[in-house]
């Protein structure tokens, strides 16, 4: 059997980036949540805020480490599997990646040490500053990466000379048409991912009878933040969709499962898109709604897939989009009702806590699904209209890619399990200092009190 290095390289890159993006999604917003805890502590001097901070810095550190190592992997894969990418658009991608490393990556990596281990070594203001810089660094990092990614979807500000892209305007490259939408959408996605993680782990601790003040504070932070962010995210997602309609209509058609161009198009709730028949089977539709949502008119026109010479594979885009939206709606329900219950009873009933535990990693799932929509939706292009994925492939053999792919898959599966297990293990033992003994918890609290007192 002939091993196809193209397909295998694509699977390998997809596996890599799927695994990688879960961790930045957590850390980008977690940095700001930690800053919130730290600032609340600085204002109120309430120990509980600091304890929430300490617990979630461990979560942050673990996520950051996995994010770094999987990110390094990707920076090498550009060269090992996809050299055509840099050869063609290196003049644009290069400086953006370089700025990411220079302005963001070093900042976060260096101040992370002070933020994690420096609480008792440096003045309080420097510790707060380190927390701010780490949060800024992760966000700046996201900015540069999303600039580059958006440029690959909606390239602008360049000209092609001898098959290579040359920049004509950096402003147009950076502020390319989809960048503001994609960046907002991703930052909000990270906010939701982190708030559901915080809420889920805190709910787990409460279920294990760990009712320390720090846990309640973290739970409230997570639930309220999610409740605030989810409507914003739905609006941002909608706006992003409109941007896609303008610049990548084939992707939008795949998301909607629209084959024929038509006015007054229905919203397809569920269907099995069939590319050979070029039709949807078992479609469940709401008349006119797609046109209303996308064009804001009942008989607005939506261009169908049949109109485009090339279009992305329909089924993965179609289903990933529904998964993302579905989780979004679930998040809306859980966070809004949860906030209502929290405001009314100052506590959550057990079944609601269980629901939050179940939602712990839903942000990661929704983020990955969203990335599948946009990235698979860009196919067959790597840089829309400029370079196809196929043309970027390097001279690697299928067997070699297969062997590394299998190892990567094994490592990523193992690390995902280890990551989830370790987070819940940490949450389970946090209140007890490793033992199930309530007395011990009180002592740890006192110890911490004196330690923090001495550091001030």
């Amino acid at each position: 059997m002939e091993l196809d290095p193209f397909l295998l390289s694509r699977i390998q890159f997809a596996a890599n980036i799927t695994f990688h993006i879960m961790f930045p999604s957590i850390t980008i917003a977690m940095g700001w949540i930690l800053l919130f805890f730290k600032v609340r502590y600085n204002i109120t001097r309430d120990q509980a805020w600091m304890q929430a901070y300490f617990f979630f810095t461990k979560v942050f550190a673990l996520s950051f480490a996995v994010g770094v190592v999987s990110g390094v992997t990707m920076s090498f894969q550009f060269g090992t599997n996809w050299p055509g990418f840099m050869l063609t658009v290196g003049n644009i991608a290069g400086p953006l990646l370089a700025y990411e490393v220079l302005t963001a990556f070093f900042l976060e990596a260096t101040f992370l040490g002070i933020m994690l281990f420096g609480f008792r070594r440096v003045p309080d203001w420097l510790h707060t500053l380190a927390t701010i810089l780490v949060a800024l660094g992760t966000t700046a990092s996201a900015f540069w990466i999303l600039v580059l990614n958006s440029w690959m979807h909606t390239p602008a500000g360049f000209e092609m000379i001898d098959g290579q892209a040359h920049v004509t305007s950096w402003m147009e490259v950076i502020f390319n048409p989809s960048m503001p939408y994609r960046l907002t959408h991703m930052l909000l996605a990270s906010g939701l991912t982190a708030s559901f993680l915080v809420a889920g782990l805190s709910a787990f601790r409460i279920l294990r009878d760990d009712r320390a003040a720090a846990v309640m504070k973290a739970l409230k932070t997570g639930v309220y933040l999610a409740a605030i962010l989810i409507p914003l995210q739905m609006f941002a997602g909608h706006e992003h969709g409109l941007n896609t309609k303008e610049y990548q209509p084939a992707k939008l058609a795949a998301m909607e499962g629209a084959w024929e161009t038509r006015r007054g198009a229905p919203l397809v709730l569920f269907a099995l898109p069939d590319e050979s028949e070029r039709a949807n089977d078992f479609a469940l539709e709401i008349p006119y709604l797609a046109s209303l949502v996308v064009t804001h008119e009942l008989d607005g026109e939506i261009r169908g897939l049949n109109e485009f010479e090339t279009h992305p594979p329909v089924a993965p885009v179609f289903f990933a989009f529904r998964l993302m939206v579905g989780i979004g709606l679930l998040m809306l329900a859980v966070s809004w009702l949860g906030s209502y219950l929290l405001l009314r009873d100052r506590a959550l009933p057990e079944y609601w806590l269980l629901a939050l535990v179940g939602m712990t990693f839903m942000g990661c799932v929704a983020t990955v699904a969203g990335w599948y929509v946009t990235e698979i939706g860009r196919q067959p292009w790597l840089v829309h209209g400029v370079l196809t994925v196929h043309d970027a492939l390097g001279p690697v053999s299928g067997g070699m890619v297969l062997s590394t792919l299998l190892v990567y898959l094994g490592i990523y599966a193992f690390l995902t399990v280890a990551f989830i297990a370790t987070l819940f293990y940490m949450a389970g033992k946090a209140g007890y200092g490793g033992e199930r003994d309530p007395e011990r918890q009180a002592m740890v609290g006192e110890e911490r009190m004196t330690v923090i007192g001495a550091a001030e």
């Binding site: 600091m50 300490f54 810095t57 461990k58 673990l62 950051f64 480490a65 996995v66 770094v68 190592v69 390094v72 992997t73 920076s75 090498f76 550009f78 060269g79 090992t80 050299p83 055509g84 840099m86 050869l87 290196g90 003049n91 644009i92 290069g94 400086p95 990646l97 370089a98 490393v101 220079l102 990556f105 070093f106 900042l107 990596a109 260096t110 992370l112 040490g113 002070i114 994690l116 281990f117 420096g118 609480f119 440096v122 290579q164 920049v167 950096w170 390097g394 001279p395 690697v396 070699m400 590394t404 190892v407 490592i411 690390l415 280890a418 370790t422 293990y425 911490r448 330690v451 923090i452």
Partner: protein, 336 residues
Amino acid sequence: MQQVFADGNWLPYAFAFLMGLSVLIYTALDGYDLGVGMLIDNAHWHEKDRMIASIGPFWDANETWLILGVGLLLVAFPAAHGLILTELYLPVAIMLFGLIFRGVAFDFRSKAPYQQKWRWNNRFFYGSLLTALAQGYMLGFYVIGFDRSWAGILFSCLIAVALASAYCLIGACWLIMKCEGGLQEKAVKWARYHLVNSVVGLVAVSVVTPLISDRIYDKWFSFPAMLALVPIPVTTGLLVIGLFLVLRHMPFPRDRYCWLPFALTIGVYVFSFVGLGYSFFPYIVPEQMTITEAAAAPASLRIILAGALIVLPVLICYTALAYFVFRGKATELRYD
């Protein structure tokens, strides 16, 4: 001269310099924490915690220099980046597997259940070892011009072991500086042992490179240039001898000069690197592609350089701050 500056012909050289600098800083900084990672296998249970605590606040930033080095190669020399990395497909993948395990093991070992800690310690060790060996193999393979004959592979394997040993050397010197008591004495022994291996590797590279390439031979052994070049091997030799002598008598009373072996090792690294850089200049892929041939468009290089010149001093300042905050002997790492 003005003409040269206007064309931007000098830009690729500036980037070659910056990239070389990043790689050098990377080998020194991540070198010591990879070294510590390989040495933990020889340490007692309680010593492992202290050893890892000594690198805890730094390793994230240390690894970033690798990303910068590869990033600059990617950004400034896209043609060479593709060529080198496709040649090195497997060793790069192996290095990445190692880096992944060691990076995450570092964080997992302190957070996973206590019963599993030894497993994460092992993963930390094997991850560090694999990373160092793969990097050494790549260095050897690069030096020998991607020669896939048995001799070439054998030479690459030799350099793999030598570089791992050189990392252990600088790791041991780091521990001499950051630890005390029994662990420090152990570190002195480790440093002595790995110094010998490292020197073997260094000599091997120095002998082989001029022999396999007439061009490199002529660069080193033509008459007037030779005089100017003599300081490189001589200084390296003196530094190595100094290191031998210091390590024989370490540790000194009241822990004086505990930083000296580390400083001397850095010196050896710098001079070896300068020697290597001189041999290959102006090639970026040995005998195949020169720095200017591989370079990206001047406009792109200029905008990166502008950013780099603003950011690098700041970066060096806050790196220094981190080292200052965690100065002195390593203590237990605590989040709270």
